[in-house]
Each structure stands twice: as C-alpha cells, then as structure tokens.
Symmetry: D2
Subunit: 138 residues, 4 copies
C-alpha cells in the first residue's frame, strides 16, 4: 500500500468566486501545496531539487473531478499518494476532503525537467528510491 | 464540423512562476476567459444566465495536457469548440496556441446548476439550441 | 499596547513569478489570510459576520511598502495589529517577516458593508468592543 | 501634461470572490497588465528590459484607494500615466474605470533592479528619456 501524505488548509475569500464557492482553478493551487509538502516529507524538497541537481518537476497532465464545492472558512485536507513511477516521471493521486466528504480528486502527471532550459531529464536515483518507498515498492 | 471560437491574450508576470514559465494552474484561467467569450458569441452571456434563468455553468471535470510552456510577453490564442452536449451538460475542447505551436489542450466538462443552491438543473432550451448549432448538429 | 496576532505560511510556486520572487500582488493574499485568522482569534469569524449580522468587512485602502523579496520555500510570518478604530471602520497594520527580516509592511483600511448590497454599515457593538480590546483601549 | 495610456479588460469569475465583487488584490493584476502595455507603448517592452539590459522594474510601494466595486462581466479601462521620475525609479498613477465611474486609484512606485540578483540599478538613459517624454518633461 502506498503512503498517504496529509496537508491541511483553510479557504479564504481569495480562493472563492462570485458563485459563492471555491473557484475551480484554485484546487490546483491547493493540490500544489499538498504535493510540495508530501515531496518534502519524502525527502525531496524543492530547494535541493534545483540547487543540487538543477532539476525540477513539471506538471505534464492533470485530470480533475469536481464532486462537491468548498466554501469560505472551510477547513480542507489534501491527501497525496504516489500511484505511478517511471525513470523520468511520476503520477500522484490527490484527494481534497472536508471532514468525511470527498470534494475533488486529481491525478497529476509529473515529469523531470532541467531547470536551465526545461528539457526532459532522468530522475536522480535518490528521488526515485524515495518515491518508490512511498509507492510501496520493495 | 463544430465552430471554433478564438480569444487572444498576452502573458504577464502575474501568470508566471519562479520556473520562468506560466504556472500550470493559470492555463485554467486563460481557458475560462476564452470559454466565457465563446459562450457570449454563441448568445449565452453570464449576465443572462444568472439574472434571467438563475442558472450557471459549473465545471465538473477537466483534463489538461501540457505540451510546451508559455513565457512572459507571449501572445496566446485560446480556441474553444463544443464537442459534446447533453440535457444538463456540455463538453468543450480548448486548445491554447502560440502562433503555430500547440501548448496546452483541455477537455472541460460543464454542468448546469442553480445559482441559489448549486443543485443540478436542466439546461434552458434556448442555450441547448445555441450549443447544438456550435456543435454542428442539425 | 495593541495585541499582535501571528500567522505562518510557506511560499509555493503559485506565489512566485518569473522574476524568481513572490509576485507583488500575492502579499495581499498573505495579508488576507493573516487578517482573517487575527479577526477569528479576536472573536470575529467570517461565518458569524455574514450569517448573524449580514455584514462584512471590505477593504477601502491599502498602502504597501516592499522592502525585501520572499522566495520559493521561504517560511513567512504575518503579524497583524489593530491601529485605528471608528464606528464603521478599522485600520490594521500588517508586517510580513522571514525570521528577523521585515519584508513587507501593509496598512489596511477596512469598512463595514452590508453583504446584500455593499452599502456602508455601522459595526456591530460586539465587534467594536473586541477590536477595541485588541487595540489596547480600556 | 503627461500622456495617458489606456488598457481595456473584462471581469471574469477568476477575478471575483464570494462577496460577489472583484477580490481586492486582483486590481493589482489589472494594474500590472495596464502598466506593462503602457511601458510597451512608450518603447520599454519587458523582453528588451531583461535580455538587452539585464534590468527589470520592481514594485517598491503601492497605495490603493477602492471607491466602487467591479463585478462579473464588467468592461473596465485602466488608465496609466507617469507622475514622477528619478535616476533609478518612477512613479505611476493608475486609475480603473467602468464607463465614467472611477472604481480604483493606484499610485505605484517602481525601481530598477538587476534581474540576476535583484540589486538596485540605475535606469538605462533610453528608458529615462522615454518616461520623461510620457511625463511631459521637455
């Protein structure tokens, strides 16, 4: 079983729109915060990614299903898990919850790219090992 | 053949991130602008939607493929077309271009909801007729 | 002496721009989060504001001084204090810190408005009392 | 008299909040778009700034007065003029209009900084001449 990483946040006016609910694009922001903290907990902090390896993760594909809306003042929980891993890419499943209600599900495809020019790059072995651990590979 | 609606925009600092490229969530903002103008050209302006019918479109699903990054000062073109239509929903395909380079492709699933409480609602017949025309249905 | 309310946050890619630093408008988002939590700690939560009184705070004036830039992964601290109080308005001073470095100082003028139509409104006495306490009035 | 540069935009859901109006921080985004196009019309495009001189403008101070709210679907006009000019800095006055109603007034203090490290820098003479022309200096 893959590890589940949790990140909590609250909804502010800046996240909502005139429909009275969280604007649909802003769940991608919530997901980025949760994903960044999940990677940090796995031992893959942004700082190291760029300064040590000159490599960053870029988003190649996202699929989002909106089930229920979040509203101002809601306390949300972003759950992140690794569900796929390649030599230069990884797939995460992220789910955003309010208590026991699932609001949004995202599948996010990440690829490694060189910071300098954005060209595709292989993933450093240390990262692959850490993502493999989170995925539950032996 | 379905109609193609075009919307042009430029990339500013507010759209970019520290990777030097447009932040991935912001293409959803570009797509919303293009989609809103496409609906307006079809004869479905937001103002009428809410004030006359008490109904709005909400985003139920998005699938985004990122192919090439956009950068500061780029002039982009959002193409929107209707590719699916139901009694309470519609699917749009949107593509974001820089000259002849396709940067991002989105499939956006919209559903009708009552503005007052967000409950699912059937689409007004006049809208369905207009979306049907844009879809190329006879 | 007025009370100081503290709120902590981290900087993500979504907050930065192609200059490699936090985009200047986003400090207003950081300030809103800190201000909302400060008001909540004083006993003035958004939920109560709208549902019980039908009143909200709107921003009437902001003055921002940018001293040093924040960068990706930085851990920031927003300090909020009440520095002025009227029958229908309040002024807050907010300062954003990274460790012992002051990055940004904001003065934010708030006014009470009716949620329904945005018209100016007097502040409920209970709120004025709580803001007065935070201001250090006897 | 200083030149007035005009930029037009429309308000979309992405710009609004659950109060039903444009979120206060987003007027800074509207102002950046208007400012960037004003500088481009003066002959100071971003591309040249960074690639030719390695210099960018950074925002040092903003003062914003909010007079009337903008709403979804509004067509707005951003007027930008140069009102101050120094060897390494410039001050712009920006006003955001809906038809003949003034909604927001901003005073924006810009300073030149080196792109590489953000250190203060003198303004290239060519830019100073162009800003001086827009300011109405002889």
């Amino acid at each position: 079983m893959s590890d589940i990483f949790q990140y909590r946040l609250r909804v502010y006016y800046q996240d909502t729109d005139a429909g009275g609910i969280v604007y649909h694009a802003n769940y991608l922001n919530f997901a980025e915060r949760g994903r960044t903290e999940a990677l940090r907990e796995m031992g893959i902090p942004h700082a190291e990614m760029v300064t040590r390896y000159g490599i960053m993760f870029v988003v190649r594909q996202v699929k989002i299903d909106y089930q229920r809306p979040a509203r101002i003042d809601d306390e949300l929980r972003v759950e992140t898990r690794v569900v796929g891993l390649g030599g230069a890419s990884a797939t995460l499943r992220q789910e955003i919850w309010r208590d026991n209600d699932s609001l949004v599900v995202l599948h996010v495809g990440l690829a490694c790219a060189r910071f300098a020019d954005g060209k595709a790059a292989r993933m450093p072995q240390a990262w692959q090992a850490r993502l493999g651990l989170a995925l539950g590979q032996e």
